[in-house]
Symmetry: C2
Subunit: 252 residues, 2 copies
């Protein structure tokens, strides 16, 4: 099976290398950036181009470009046959409609950074396709990389992406807030590490809903008032404190 | 050194047992609840009482009671000599003023649940005292339990507690939100686990401020609008989404 990668960023690089390691044939890499295209192409033994109009014929086209660029590059791809797959969490399968006959989605739920190697075996992969045949093709491709392959339609995938924003992007920001609050008190972020690890660890044995601790769930207004008063230099965080506390108290 | 524990809840139980294991003499346990007092007293070879007025003479009194009960139990304790230590994150050292000559704080930064054993060696301990002598006594007591002992005044400790609320209590709530969003899409919370682990792992090698990913930091309004639209059944979470996104965008 011949595969062409459209995109040479983090997702494309990790995914192309992982498929190459599983003896899949990556025949071409397409990227606006010459250097990225060249570098990824070399590492998987493929040719490369910076012009979508020069995309060759293949069995599978994997798009790993930014959400905003996807639609245009689909339109500019002269190869309308074959299976066209995107890797975006928040875009529906229907982005291929009117352009390609066979569309699919292959969404790896992980953050990739270029330097850091990833173990695809542990990354949950979410697949979607228009036909049973293509679903099977995607399932096989995904099974060859990961032990955690899920079928998810576009709506499930969007909800998944939203859940990931809360559980990961927003969580990371709360860590950043905590880091600055600690800096202001001349304490290192490291002091929080055991507590953070325990918080994450707990969710493996019980639902986060049941694991909730802290002043909000105890309705400890005395402590909450002190905390809100301590945030007068950070009005936005004061509002965040109030809203999350309210949400904690409404859930039970 | 003779120690009396006032309180027999989670913090008292874990701390008393840890000190007992280090050959400290726990001579009495004081708790409103007969069963708790009796149980903890037995496990550390101490006597017990439910009446603060019956508190005996000792070198150190460790208060591990709820914030709201602390002031009253200090007042009712007839023993005004010795070192009186509380274990609360958000209460100042000054709660002892006017009642006891020697006050101190011994604050372990961890959530304790009764069933689960804890390894005190890894728990950051924050100590505070009014005199150099008592500071040293507390330092020695803390050093015997943990490798991570910090001096922190009442203001630092309150800021620490606030940071912990953001990094742990609020983070746990975001996990609960994510879990419900996934439930609605008939997906298990487990699919998020690798991404959560990566989010936490990343903070060991870079500041959370630099590790930020997601639609908000990319100013991806297209995705953000879709997410906010998907939250119409959860208006409070919609507001939380908007505020945290705004905070992410303001920080950089």
């Amino acid at each position: 099976m011949n595969i062409i990668f459209i995109g040479a960023g983090n997702v494309a690089t990790h995914l192309a290398k992982a498929l190459h390691a599983k003896k899949q044939h990556i025949v071409q890499v397409v990227s606006r950036t010459t250097l990225s295209a060249q570098k990824l192409a070399e590492s998987v033994g493929a040719s490369w181009t910076t012009t979508p109009e020069e995309i060759e014929k293949a069995d599978v086209y994997i798009y790993a470009v930014s959400d905003s660029a996807l639609q245009e590059v689909i339109r500019r791809n002269p190869q309308k046959k074959g299976l066209h797959i995107h890797t975006a969490g928040s875009l529906p399968l229907s982005v291929f409609e009117g352009e390609m006959e066979r569309g699919g989605v292959f969404y790896p739920l992980q953050t990739f950074s270029k330097q850091k190697p990833v173990d695809f075996a542990k990354i949950p992969l979410f697949i979607e396709a228009n036909s049973a045949t293509d679903r099977e093709l995607l399932q096989n491709l995904a099974d060859s990389l990961s032990k955690k392959v899920y079928a998810a339609d576009s709506q499930q995938r969007q909800q998944l992406h939203l859940a990931a924003v809360f559980a990961c992007n927003f969580t990371n920001h709360l860590f950043a807030v905590a880091e600055q609050l600690l800096n202001e008190a001349k304490l290192p972020f490291d002091v929080l590490r055991p507590l953070i690890e325990e918080t994450v660890q707990k969710t493996t044995t019980m639902s986060p809903l049941d694991a909730q601790t802290g002043p909000a769930i105890r309705h400890d207004l005395n402590v909450m008032d002190k905390h809100i008063a301590a945030l007068t230099a950070h009005l936005l965080w004061q509002d965040i404190y109030r809203l999350i506390s309210e949400s904690i108290q409404t859930r039970k």
